[in-house]
């Protein structure tokens, strides 16, 4: 290459040093969180701070006494699973129709869908809350799930995927006598797996971490999600910080594990939505 080897090596070291410093700043808070979660309260409050944990694993059990943590884990899992399943099904149906079928009003309808994408969520919230209140759904799993079953973003993302599939596919299936439903289910869905995976992962991430909506509709601690439950402890400055750190770690762990296992798909999903959405 045109680069001189010595200069390149020097630059390479500087690159790694910069990246390592950056990575340390990124990971440091998590390490400190983990360390704190294993301390006694008095050790955590020491000045200057100590780096020696007391290995108090019981802090992780104490979270379940501080909050109805078990209920909240279950609520979060069920909400996330239901929203993800619903979005994958409903969004892929609509996306297939928009991408592969011809019908009057297609452009107009899609435009209306896109307009939802551009409205900031706080604008929906008061009427959504009123609907939930009128239906008697407040403080229930239903309130957490229902509005999240529908997503304009999901339709948009999957439509991009369906548009990218070759035209010959449905033409061939059509000649073989398959109807739109059959083509959607047996031809398009299997081919759209990378798109479905990307949408699924993003929906899990957003749902699991969602705070605003769960905070508003479910105020009974047993009906809260993890993020709302943890947030409900804010302001109680007397709270046992080590236990709080243990709870925070436990609550974010599932998504971090999912990310570690499916890193490639995560990154692809983000890069895809980022460069085409």
């Amino acid at each position: 290459m045109a680069e001189r080897p010595a200069a390149a090596r020097g630059g390479r070291t500087a690159t790694h040093v910069t990246l390592l410093i950056g990575a340390a700043v990124m990971v440091g808070p998590f390490l400190w969180q983990f360390l704190t979660s294993l301390k006694t309260l008095s050790n955590a409050m020491k000045v200057p701070p100590t780096f020696t944990p007391d290995w108090r694993w019981s802090n992780y059990g104490d979270v379940f006494e501080l909050l109805p943590f078990g209920h909240q884990i279950l609520n979060t899992v069920l909400m996330t699973a239901a929203r993800t399943a619903g979005q994958l099904l409903f969004c892929s149906m609509a996306a297939y129709a928009f991408a592969r079928l011809r019908f009057p009003g297609r452009g107009l309808l899609f435009g209306i869908f896109l307009s939802v994408l551009m409205v900031p969520p706080p604008l929906f919230v008061i009427p959504q809350y009123e609907i939930m209140a009128d239906l008697g759904w407040l403080n229930s799993l239903t309130a957490l799930i229902v509005p999240g079953l529908f997503s304009a973003f999901g339709v948009f993302l999957l439509r991009q995927f369906f548009l990218g599939l070759p035209k010959e596919l449905d033409e061939a299936a059509r000649l073989d006598g398959a109807g739109p439903l059959r083509i959607y289910w047996s031809v398009m869905l299997p081919l759209a797996k990378p798109g479905l995976l990307a949408l699924g992962i993003l929906t899990v991430l957003w749902s699991w971490n969602d705070l605003f909506w769960p905070l508003i509709v479910n105020t009974d601690p047993e009906q809260m999600t993890l993020s709302a439950g943890l947030a409900s402890l804010q302001g109680q400055f007397q709270t046992d910080y080590p236990v709080l750190m243990a709870g925070s770690l436990l609550a974010s762990l599932p998504v971090i594990v999912l990310f570690t296992v499916m890193q490639r798909h995560f990154i692809q999903g983000i890069a895809f939505s980022g460069n085409k959405g």
């Binding site: 808070p29 998590f30 400190w32 969004c91 604008l123 529908f150 998504v255 971090i256």
Partner: protein, 325 residues
């Protein structure tokens, strides 16, 4: 398949006029079936979006002209809410803070570009490990992130002030000090979104053909010149996307302020709270803490105007600096 269309077009037109409409009708019926299926497939999401998203936007617009009683009833008050809003110090402060967050948050973009450029070096080892580490805060629950940082920022027991004390600096009570609270929150915001932006920039950079750089190197262009003349212009669509997203995201900042600054009584106890209050937090407070929903609706309509205006400005300016290859 169909015997009637075996002749030439002339034959059909002159000799047998009837089959043409018949065939047309059959195709139309097929189209009709296709359209029916399409509407059926769209129906669940369409109805869901209509009931839970489209209609609510219109309702919020209507609510912004009403005043709510303690039991949920509301009456039309015309422009009253907007008049109050324009003179309300709390609203104006929240607006000013929100704009400050948005502008300061943009500082994260050059930082992300720098890290992406470092990661984009050819044959660099450990790219995926670095990328994963930088991405960690993106996937972590925002509430948990806010908790950790509140602990790190703690004025008495926080790690940050301890590290500063090692070099002889006495750190402030970061999020309880009006002078530093806003900047402390901006830093966490940048820290959280850095990995996401790096991934997008890195994908954009990797799409730039290597040959461009090789040709530039032969012409004697150094690394910096290559970055300025090749990378930046070709990365401009990603830069545009990230800056639009960053502005829209910052204007809706809530989670961090809610967890680190508090809400309701605890927020009022924090002397720095007026310096970090955002529009969405104020909206939440009015709509669900003090139950002043009409006024809250007006506040969030003002936010909509702000978002639409800033986004429109960005799209207008786009023509000057964004190059689509």
């Amino acid at each position: 398949m169909t015997a009637t269309v075996t002749g030439t077009a002339d034959d059909v037109r002159t000799a047998v006029p009837a089959p043409v409409p018949a065939r047309r009708r059959r195709r139309w019926r097929h189209r009709g079936a296709e359209a029916a299926w399409a509407y059926l497939l769209i129906a669940p999401t369409g109805l869901g979006l209509a009931v839970f998203y489209l209609w609510p936007v219109l309702q919020t617009g209507y609510f912004s002209f009403t005043e709510w009683g303690p039991f949920g009833g509301h009456e039309w008050v015309g422009l009253d809410n907007y008049r109050t809003l324009a003179a309300d110090d709390e609203v104006l402060t929240a607006l000013r803070n929100t704009v400050a967050y948005t502008l300061l948050g943009l500082l994260g973009i050059p930082l992300a570009v720098m890290f992406a450029a470092l990661l984009n070096r050819p044959r660099l080892r450990g790219v995926s490990a670095y990328r994963a580490l930088f991405f960690l805060p993106v996937v972590t629950m925002p509430v948990a992130v806010a908790m950790v940082w509140r602990w790190l920022y703690n004025g008495d027991y926080g790690l940050i002030n301890y590290v500063l004390s090692l070099v002889g600096v006495e750190g402030p009570h970061w999020i309880a000090d009006p002078a530093t609270a806003l900047y402390a929150l901006v830093a966490v915001g940048i820290w959280t979104s850095l990995g996401y932006n790096i991934v997008i920039f890195l994908a954009g950079m990797q799409a730039i053909p290597r040959e461009y750089y090789e040709a530039a190197a032969i012409d004697g262009a150094g690394a910096l010149a290559q970055f300025r003349r090749i990378t930046l212009p070709l990365l401009s669509p990603s830069l545009f996307f990230v800056s639009v997203l960053s502005v829209i995201g910052s204007l809706q900042l809530f989670d961090l302020v809610y967890v680190m600054g508090g809400s309701g009584q605890s927020a009022r106890a924090n002397p720095a709270f007026p310096r970090i209050q955002t529009v969405v937090h104020l909206f939440y407070d009015k709509a669900f803490y003090t139950n002043d929903r009409g006024y809250a609706a007006a506040i969030v309509m003002a936010l909509l105007v702000l978002i639409v205006t800033l986004t429109a400005i960005q799209f207008r300016l786009q023509k000057r600096w964004v190059h689509y290859g």
